[in-house]
Subunit: 243 residues, 2 copies
């Protein structure tokens, strides 16, 4: 399993991805699921991955090779004019991998299942955030629901639903995302630390606010423990049912 | 979908069940999923149901008919000596319905899927709490994890994990359960109000603290709104990530 979140806020984009992958409960590893392509000053493209690791890696390798080997006039995620075109290129790569691997996966009773959160900004546009499905189709977030989740989304959704506001500062949104991860990590062993994060400020066209939160990270421990205590206090402060 | 919770605490048992059933998104109804059999002063047996409604109703009807038509010496949930025996009788009823209906359900591409939370007390025993599966097998809660959930359990689990304590008062546990429902109701349309509840005090051998919480219930509104505000305040009071 996996848990990844993307938020589109007035001030920019926030991305977070856990790093646990597993082939059965007895085979657990750490893999980075947050990938960035960038041309500083011009574009930042971020991709978070969930699903079959062989498929998500193949999609990313294909996209990277397209950039290196692009023929004259060929569209890649590094020369596409809009994030919508980037989403189409990634959807196309998913379909290409499905063509080569889909049948064999089905024959092996495995499933061709992937989802991506794609976000970023290309000069001339505002930041945009998309979710891309196994079929290569995709949706874009709107103001009503400014976040996307992939993987194990349920445990961490209530806090996002209650607290997310488009006018949050990015550091405030990072706190929110870590609390959403904390709820998920407590309940699902197939989601695991460390967590990779990227805070992207609108019009910065750089991914330099990228970092990894380890299990023993002081800030993570502070918000995790603080949240548990605050919830218990809030619970105790409310009246009991009188029945 | 469905959401039901059962807690086994030092002071007794707490049960809660939503009432929404649906056959597709366009066919939604209200059905009670909390069933009580009792002999005041001697036993209280409570069953919460999730899964295929035709199957859960058939199981309950079969159990009720066994009580009415019991042959001399036949075990029923009203004469069984222990809650373990009651769980076996219910598991047996599930298997009997599987024998009559399982094949036809599979043939119709439907599934024979049910789960139950069974709790109660029979004179001579302390209160006990079980979860019964589609195969008729079951588990009993232990002190490490004093609650059970069936149906859509994920959204409402973080609050149970953080707050549940065996020494809670039943009114306090009722507050906790309603908050767990509140998180679930906000995120999953297939779980719906009203919520049926039963608070059972150890050695009371009566189900008289049974009631229904409607959408506009004043106490439910108070804890639901109060909880949202408390979460937002707790969130605001914690330091932002400094990155």
């Amino acid at each position: 399993m996996t848990y990844c979140v993307g938020l589109k806020l007035d001030r920019g984009l926030v991305f977070a991805a856990d790093t646990r992958t597993n082939a059965g409960l007895d085979n657990v590893s750490t893999f980075k699921k947050l990938k960035v392509w960038e041309e500083p000053g011009e574009r930042v493209v971020t991709l978070l991955s969930a699903g079959n690791l062989a498929v998500t890696q193949a999609v990313i390798s294909l996209l990277s090779e397209q950039i290196t080997d692009a023929a004259e006039g060929q569209s890649t995620i590094m020369n596409a004019k809009t994030m919508f075109q980037v989403a189409r290129i990634i959807g196309g790569a998913v379909r290409q991998i499905h063509e080569t691997d889909g049948e064999a996966l089905t024959a092996a009773a495995d499933s061709f299942f992937v989802t991506f959160i794609l976000g970023g900004q290309i000069k001339g546009e505002t930041p945009r955030l998309f979710q891309i499905y196994s079929a290569g189709n995709f949706i874009e977030v709107c103001d009503d629901t400014p976040y996307l989740q992939i993987g194990e989304h349920k445990y961490g959704k209530p806090i996002l639903d209650r607290v997310t506001r488009a006018d949050m500062r990015l550091g405030e949104a990072a706190k929110l995302v870590l609390l959403s991860f904390d709820s998920t990590l407590r309940s699902n062993l197939s989601v695991g630390m460390p967590v990779d994060m990227l805070l992207y400020n609108t019009d910065s066209f750089t991914s330099d606010r990228q970092f990894r939160i380890e299990q023993d990270d002081a800030y993570f421990r502070q918000v995790s423990d603080g949240w548990s205590n605050a919830l218990r206090d809030a619970f105790a402060s409310m009246p009991e049912m009188d029945v």
